[in-house]
């Protein structure tokens, strides 16, 4: 009952945020619907194509690989939701101070995370079913796939929830012990779906057991809630006064430089920088592992295109969850502290410049995400250079997208860490995807015919992406000046 009260409050809050956003931007709903249908159609067609075309054995899209991808994505989403909705939420203290068992609080929060995300998955399944029937798309999935997918998503969300609490504990040793205890959950999913490659019918009971174990693990982390909350809210003594001058772009104004320094320091101390870098390292390792899955250089119809396209897909995913997300939360993530910048005599454009420059420090790491794959697969130097330059282009473009939408319509929702709701976020990522394809595909096509011209075009595309970022920052300024608090 008490868990339900916690859950009901969360749902009411989420619903009101979404409703007020829809009132402000009524066209966002049909826009989201269009994007959802379009992208699901694209995914289903890709799965169908991958099942029939001459794709290397290691890269075949199987029901198991889809289930494992769903588990991993849900794990990340569950961890992020648990972190922002619970572990780092300032209002958690009001729940912790009530005569309520911690397990009820954890259960209520887990309920929220599962309900909101499974609701989205259900919507996607409904639309996908309509598309499968309407367009007669053939995908290699039987009747057991849907319950298996739901179990995989539930398991991923609950595992992510538990991992978020464990990773937020007070000391590195306790974090390591907590994460070590929970590592069995993703490992079990990997063994069942990737190593053993159980048929879906056999994987279903395994996934149900995994989902139940994950839910129990998430509830079992409830005694650690207070410690995790305190660790995330506590001060660390001896804060270093690093000099940031070498990192600071010379073209920033004094006020912009002050904003830049503040962004870099707070992102570092909130571990956001480490988290972003860890994400990019994870993507780089995942890309390199694709090559090991292939077992050697690809052959067949798509051999030349395959690995560079996979590399760019990885770079896009990395850019979306680092550059775009940070740009989107740049203003909304300030929450109640935005009064500081808004009552200082600083134009919004300087605020946007300082913040964008701080986010851009991640660009070199992002541009290098595709390099391990390029080195492992033995790409020629010019192809490797193309991957790096295109990675830079994607990073700039995705930062521009994040800065633009983050300033135009900032979200002050603490439950999402200053990010817009899932519907809007999805739409923005899709816009970013289209922009990246427009920036990266023409130079890539040119490169296939003439390498020098292709490289020059890629450099020009990077310039244009930088120009897009410049324009986004310029346009963000007036929006920031107009934010009412």
């Amino acid at each position: 009952m008490r868990a339900f009260l916690v859950h009901a409050a969360d749902v009411a809050q989420a619903a009101r945020f979404t409703a007020s956003r829809l009132v402000r931007r009524p066209f966002s709903l049909p826009f989201f619907a269009l994007l959802l249908v379009g992208s699901l159609w694209l995914i289903l067609r890709t799965v169908e194509l991958a099942g029939t075309a001459d794709v290397p054995e290691g890269l075949r899209i199987t029901p198991d690989s889809l289930l494992f991808a769903a588990f991993l994505l849900s794990l990340g989403k569950g961890a992020a939701d648990a972190y922002y909705r619970m572990v780092r939420h300032p209002a958690l203290v009001f729940l912790l101070a009530q005569p309520v068992r911690r397990s009820s609080i954890a259960a209520g929060k887990l309920w929220t995370v599962v309900a909101l995300n499974l609701g989205f998955v259900t919507l996607c399944l409904g639309v996908a079913t309509a598309l499968l029937l309407g367009f007669r798309i053939q995908v290699p999935a039987g009747g057991a796939f849907v319950p298996a997918l739901v179990a995989a998503v539930l398991g991923g969300l609950a595992s992510g929830f538990a991992l978020a609490v464990a990773a937020s504990l007070g000391t590195w040793r306790r974090k390591a012990v907590g994460l070590g205890l929970l590592a069995g959950l993703p490992a079990a999913a990997w063994i069942a779906l990737v190593q053993v490659e159980l048929p879906v019918e056999a994987a279903l009971p395994a996934l149900i057991v995994l989902a139940l174990a994950s839910v129990l693990a998430a509830l079992a982390t409830s005694p650690w809630l207070a410690e995790a909350w305190n660790a995330q809210a506590a001060s660390r003594s001896g804060a270093a006064g690093h000099t940031l001058r070498p990192l600071r772009p010379p073209w920033l104004t004094a006020a912009g430089a002050a904003v830049f320094d503040k962004e870099v320091k707070t992102a570092w101390r909130k571990r956001e920088t480490v988290l972003s870098l860890a994400t990019l390292v994870f993507v780089a390792i995942a890309l390199a592992s694709v090559y090991t899955l292939l077992g050697g250089p690809p052959s067949g119809r798509f051999a030349r295109l395959l690995l560079p396209v996979i590399a760019m897909a990885g770079v896009f995913a990395g850019a979306a969850v680092t550059m775009t997300v940070r740009g989107l939360s740049a203003i909304g993530g300030e929450h109640e502290s935005l009064w500081i910048l808004r009552t200082s005599p600083v134009p919004g454009v300087d605020v946007a410049r300082g913040k964008a420059a701080a986010h851009a420090l991640l660009l070199p790491a992002l541009a290098g995400v595709g390099l391990p794959l390029a080195l492992l697969a033995g790409f020629p130097w010019d192809t490797s250079l193309l991957v790096v330059v295109s990675g830079l282009t994607v990073g700039l473009a995705m930062t521009a997208v994040g800065v633009h939408f983050g300033a135009r319509s900032p979200s002050f929702d603490r439950n999402t860490g200053g990010l817009p709701d899932s519907l809007t976020l999805y739409g923005i990522f899709m816009i970013g995807l289209v922009a990246c394809v427009l920036f990266v595909a023409p130079p890539g096509a040119l490169f296939a015919g003439n390498r020098v011209l292709g490289l020059l075009a890629a450099i020009l595309a990077a310039d244009l992406a930088a120009l897009a970022l410049y324009a986004a920052v310029r346009r963000a300024g007036p929006h920031i000046d107009r934010v009412e608090l």
Partner: protein
């Protein structure tokens, strides 16, 4: 110094300010007194350029808050009712950032911060990240951020919130002296004793309107009461 003419502000169907007219003079401490939700914070936020009026105009030293918001911000120091700070910056880093945002030279900023740190007795706490500070200490850091650049206009929303009685008393004396030097202090409070102790004039705000205006003694006298606390009740009930 501060003027509002017909300032109106709505939050959807709620009328927060209803055509308010107000003038705050140089050299005075002016108090906005009102119940919760009376419109005090909304009016202060309009003067601080955080909100735009739906109708009417507001100006600080002749600068319109809509026409020249940056100019207005150069003139003011502002502390909100619940000042959320950058929790992963130390107090000193936070104040230095404010100084740089205001284009103050480093040496001048360091001097100003040191002076206020001595005055507010928070030397040790200034080097701790602000999320580890007590509420009162956070309030002190926020007050310091509004004052150390010595703006001619201070806009303070419930400035004594969270402060211990000894420091609240110190602050009142300091604000009186600050206004006496020719600056303007606009503060809001719902504690009538605070208004009586430091305000030269007050406005009782109720339902988005100015229900009474004058010195605390005048307001009490006109309400036919002995003190401001009783006067406040009479005025609010009559409005």
């Amino acid at each position: 110094m501060l003027s509002a003419r017909g300032v109106t502000k709505r939050y959807g169907p709620l009328l927060a300010l209803d055509a308010i007219d107000l003038d705050v003079r140089p050299g005075e401490v002016f108090g906005l007194l009102g119940s919760n939700g009376a419109g005090k914070t909304t009016l202060m936020k309009i003067f601080a350029t955080l909100l735009r009026p739906d109708a009417g105009s507001a100006a600080v030293r002749g600068l319109d808050v809509l026409g020249d918001p940056l100019g207005v911000r150069r003139l003011i120091g502002f502390v909100p009712e619940t000042p959320a700070l950058y929790d992963k910056l130390t107090g000193r880093e936070f104040l230095h950032m404010i100084a740089r945002l205001r284009g103050m030279p480093d040496a001048q900023a360091a001097r100003g911060i040191q002076e206020l740190s001595d005055l507010l007795r928070m030397e040790e706490e200034l080097d701790r990240e602000t999320d580890g500070l007590s509420r009162g200490m956070k309030q002190k850091v926020a007050l310091a951020s509004a004052m150390f650049h010595r703006p001619p206009v201070l806009i303070l929303d419930e400035p004594t919130n969270g402060l211990d009685p000894r420091f609240a008393r110190l602050l009142k004396g300091w604000l009186r002296a600050y206004a006496a030097a020719g600056n303007t202090v606009l503060l809001s409070t719902h504690v009538t004793q605070v208004a009586e102790a430091i305000c030269d004039r007050i406005a009782v705000v109720h339902g988005g309107r100015v229900a009474a205006l004058g010195t605390p003694e005048d307001v009490s006298h006109r309400a036919g009461t002995e003190n401001l606390e009783d006067a406040f009740s009479v005025i609010v009930e009559a409005a």
